[in-house]
């Protein structure tokens, strides 16, 4: 990955940390990332590590401080960013994943719906069986 792109990726990850953390470690963390990239560690891996750290940082309650709703929301946002980052860095691997040829039926193949009896009058267990009847095999 090119230099400016790597730096941007890492800086984006670092922005996910709380401001208090960035004030304290931000500059050093940026420099550390640059050194690690120079050593050949992929920027995406460093960014992922920082995103995981940011999630932990948001979810770890400080002394005398309760975990607020916004902190949890930020942590969820950071997690979503991590998933997006992971997905965007490994599209080729995901695309090349191929299933071996198989003669067996797929696990969840939709089938024609069976005639549905009067669901409202059926006891709870029967309702469950009726839902599963939409598939050839139960999932």
């Amino acid at each position: 990955m090119a230099g400016p792109q790597s730096t941007r990726l890492v800086k984006t990850a670092l922005r996910c940390y709380p401001a208090r953390w960035r004030r304290r470690h931000g500059d050093e963390a940026t420099e550390l990332a640059a050194l690690l990239i120079r050593d050949g560690i992929p920027a995406a891996s460093i960014a992922m590590s920082y995103l995981a750290g940011a999630t932990r940082e948001w979810l770890t309650p400080r002394l005398g401080q309760r975990r607020s709703l916004s902190a949890v929301a930020c942590a969820l946002l950071v997690s979503a960013c991590s998933v997006w980052l992971l997905a965007s860095t490994v599209p080729a691997r995901a695309a090349s994943t191929s299933q071996p040829p198989s003669t067996s039926q797929p696990h969840c193949r939709p089938a024609r719906p069976a005639p549905v009896p009067d669901v409202a009058s059926a006891p709870p267990n029967e309702q469950l069986i009726i839902r599963e009847a939409w598939h050839d095999r139960p999932c």
Binding site: H25, E28, L32, L35, Y50, G53
Partner: protein
């Protein structure tokens, strides 16, 4: 919640639940202060473990909260850390505990004859 030296000396293994990264950081700091990059390099050489930078800062913050390490004045943008006296005591207790478990494991392997 800092750990006092007396607690560590009393034999309570406070490092049992802090995770491998924190223990490796303390071991790395045992021979002198280091900053983040030096810690990552040293731990890779010492234990063949590649600490991610996010893991490193999380562990450093945790150890500092426990009073087992302390930051030194910044050099340029780098913050070196050094181990405190309670940190050294806690590390001794933890290593003793690991040695006991290790010795027991080796003995059982011998007795089992596997």
């Amino acid at each position: 919640m800092a750990v006092s030296r007396r607690d560590s000396v009393a034999g309570q293994d406070v490092l049992r639940r802090v995770g491998e990264a924190s223990v490796l950081i303390l071991i790395s700091l045992a021979d002198g202060p280091k900053h983040g990059y030096a810690l990552i390099q040293d731990i890779k050489e010492l234990a063949d473990v590649e600490l991610g930078p996010g893991t490193l800062y999380g562990a450093l913050d945790r150890l500092e909260r426990l009073g087992l390490i302390e930051p030194l004045p910044a050099e340029d943008r780098r913050h070196p850390y050094r181990m405190t006296a309670p940190g050294a005591a806690a590390l001794r207790v933890h290593l003793d505990s690991l040695e006991r478990v290790s010795a027991a494991g080796r003995l059982r392997l011998q007795l089992g004859g596997v």
